[in-house]
């Protein structure tokens, strides 16, 4: 499955350019309002730490959706199962965005944007949970994608608003309490805020429930595996998918 990297030769640079573009756009808007930092972080760093996990999340979801149909030719080999494709794409996305994240943060650091790292092990722990969460959702998507073609249209519609409520461009500490009650159900928000807490010293978030995040991650994985086990044969059987 390693050869799948070949596809992304051009995509590599985009992995860095894309979040940078978002960061740039937000920074300009934010600068127009005059404030220079958000919740104790300078804003490029803040946006960067929000947009990368979010892009990663939406990317894996959309990729998983098409993973079965896109890799159809590989199922000619009996050892290749759909979950391999989901896993491969997921690993690839994580690797790309991880490298991109580290790269962008270190570039900012060398150019004098100050921040202090808090806990690397904590960060990796959160990333691991995030990985499981994405894997679960990815498996679900891989099952849904080929069985309901419309999902390719619906998913972007669902992901778009998630962008607004996942704390990409605002810290939860600035959100009034009465909204927090609802916002904190959003696992993506959890991931992003947790990442910031673990990455940066002095960053704070009003709720900290690693238990909730773990629960969501593992249940997503559980449901994902269940759905996949249930429909694996159907994904491979000709006539269910190809005739559409």
């Amino acid at each position: 499955m390693k050869s799948r990297f070949g596809r992304y030769k051009l995509g590599y640079s985009w992995a860095i350019l894309e979040p940078l573009g978002y960061v740039g756009a937000f920074s300009i808007i934010r600068m127009a309002f005059g404030s220079s930092d958000i919740a104790g972080l300078s804003f490029p760093i803040f946006f960067c730490s929000g947009i990368i996990p979010f892009l990663l999340f939406s990317g894996t979801l959309m990729q998983s959706l098409t993973s079965v149909s896109a890799n159809h030719s590989l199922f000619t080999y009996r050892h290749v199962k759909p979950y391999h494709c989901v896993l491969a794409r997921l690993c690839l996305e994580f690797a790309i965005y991880f490298v991109a994240g580290v790269f962008i943060l270190s570039v900012f650091y060398t150019f004098g944007v100050q921040f202090a790292l808090s806990s690397i092990s904590g960060t990796l722990g959160i990333l691991a949970l995030f990985f499981l969460f994405c894997l679960g959702l990815g498996l679900i998507m891989a099952v849904i994608g080929p069985l309901f073609r419309e999902s390719e249209k619906i998913m972007p519609i669902l992901i778009r608003p998630l962008f607004l409520i996942s704390g990409v461009f605002f810290p939860t500490i600035e959100v009034p309490d009465r909204y927090i009650v609802y916002l904190q159900w959003n696992p993506v928000l959890h991931v992003i805020e947790f990442l910031r807490v673990n990455l940066f010293l002095n960053y704070e978030m009003p709720f900290q429930s690693i238990a909730y995040l773990s629960l969501v991650s593992f249940s997503s994985l559980f449901v994902g595996i269940l759905a996949y086990r249930w429909k694996e044969k159907k994904l491979l059987t000709s006539g269910t998918i190809r005739l559409r």
Partner: protein, 472 residues
């Protein structure tokens, strides 16, 4: 032990479900090369996919303790934007070869496939034949006990097929072939057992010839596929008609014999199956023109037997069956061929003629109408439709069809004759007479010369000669 047990496989189609196998239990011959035969849509490829473990039946199972290759087919198996080398590398990794071995394997594949520099180009640029060659060569890199091949025409040209055959022979003791193919000649090259899929049934033949016979019911197939082996009969068959015995025709006779000799040589030399089929086809056409229907039929059958997929072989074959009055056989052939290719205008128009002769006029009209739709520029189709509508007493329709035909070809003399009869039926006498007069004028202009056999034959001969120049 190699058997399939209670196998059921169905596909969802627009209205309901189509079963290709229903609760089938069959023992496969062990350690044998098996050809899977059957009309399109009988489930040959599905069977291969199930055997290869990449498709699942609705119920039932395959019992086999041998390793199977992936189904080698025209489509699938490769990623288009990766090069041949990268794709092979990927598959080697999937099958768990180690790094050192992969290096060697890739070189072997490159050599066997004969792709040369194209091996380093993306698969997306490959032709079907190149794709098949790579696929086959790749599969040779692994020690499969069964090689599943879907349409070996996908394995390139005759030359490569021989190479493939040799490579397979080397592996003979460990590797067998299960093959789907429409070409009897190719199947003969590789297999000795046959399985016939038809109407949801699976029939195992220990002898490939029996299977082929069962599959080509209309044709009585000779034991050998090579033309040259019955070439000696050719002279007998071609004994010239009585009319040619006169002195003045001696030169013609000699020329005809010369051509025949040339034909013999050509057949002997040709080792490309495609050519052999074409030669048979042309011989069939020649005999048809000479009025020797039975011989013509024999050669047409051979042509089709050698290259079943060539649609151009069917119309003259059907004409022959018509001439011999074997309408039942004609129906069977027509339905089989139209099953693969429902939009073939000539075949459709032939179906129309056939149905008309069987008195099934409604079906005839439907067939002819679709033929007309497919070839709206061809006056012959309209003429045929018009005459049928005339017989069915649909005079208005017949009139408009006939007029369209005349519009497309203003000198279409038989059509004027028909037009005149149609108009007469509609009591439009004056116009009818006019059409008849026009018919008279046209036919007197292009009246054939009196029964000059020599002329007609020399025409045929020069035609055949030019045809064969083309082949060369």
């Amino acid at each position: 032990m190699f058997r399939i047990e209670n196998l059921t496989k169905s596909y969802r189609i627009n209205n309901g479900r189509h079963y290709i196998f229903k609760d089938i239990t069959v023992d496969f011959p062990e350690n044998a090369n098996i050809a899977i035969l059957g009309p399109n849509g009988a489930g040959k490829s599905s069977l291969l996919r199930i055997l290869g473990g990449i498709d699942y039946p609705d119920s039932g199972r395959v019992i086999c303790d041998k390793t199977m290759s992936w189904p080698l087919g025209i489509a699938g198996g490769f990623i288009g934007h990766l090069t041949g080398r990268e794709n092979c590398d990927l598959v080697c990794r999937i099958y768990g070869l180690n790094k050192v071995k992969i290096e060697d394997t890739l070189e072997t594949i490159k050599e066997l496939s004969g792709l040369g520099k194209y091996f380093e180009e993306p698969i997306g640029y490959y032709s079907t034949g190149m794709n098949g060659r790579l696929n086959f060569s790749l599969s040779m890199a692994f020690d499969f006990e069964y090689l599943l091949i879907d349409e070996l025409t996908s394995v390139g040209d005759r030359h490569f097929r021989e190479k493939a055959r040799n490579t397979l022979d080397e592996k003979r003791s460990t590797c067998n072939v299960i093959m789907v193919s429409h070409s009897a000649a190719i199947v003969r090259d590789f297999c000795e057992h046959g399985i016939l899929l038809k109407d949801g049934q699976m029939q195992v033949f220990d002898n490939l010839d029996d299977a082929l016979k069962a599959y080509f019911p209309a044709a009585d197939i000779p034991k050998t596929a090579r033309l040259s082996s019955y070439g000696s009969d050719l002279d007998d068959v071609l004994k010239l008609p009585q009319e040619l015995e006169g002195d003045s025709n001696q030169t013609l006779k000699r020329r005809l014999n010369l051509i025949l000799k040339e034909l013999h040589e050509q057949i002997d030399q040709s080792d490309r199956i495609e050519d052999e089929a074409t030669v048979c086809h042309r011989l069939g056409v020649l005999f048809f023109q000479l009025g020797k229907w039975n011989d013509s039929l024999e050669f047409h059958q051979k042509a089709i037997y050698l290259d079943e997929q060539n649609l151009a072989f069917y119309p003259p074959y059907l004409n022959c069956l018509f001439q011999l009055g074997r309408l039942e056989d004609a129906i069977e052939v027509l339905e089989r061929v139209l099953g693969w290719n429902p939009n073939h205008p000539i075949l459709l128009s032939q179906k129309g003629t056939l149905m008309q002769r069987l008195g099934r006029n409604e079906e005839a009209v439907i067939a002819l109408k679709s033929a007309v739709d497919l070839e709206p520029e061809n006056p012959d189709r309209y003429f045929q439709l018009a005459s049928l509508q005339h017989i069915n007493a649909q005079f208005e329709d017949a009139l408009s069809s006939a007029l369209t035909a005349i519009k497309l070809n203003p000198n279409f003399s038989p059509c004027f004759e028909l037009l005149s009869r149609i108009l007469a039926e509609m009591n439009r006498w004056e116009e009818s007479v006019e059409a008849k007069l026009k018919f008279g004028r046209l036919t007197s202009e292009s009246k054939p010369s009196p029964r000059d056999w020599g002329k007609i034959y020399s025409d045929i001969i020069s035609k055949v000669e030019t045809e064969f120049r083309k082949v060369k």
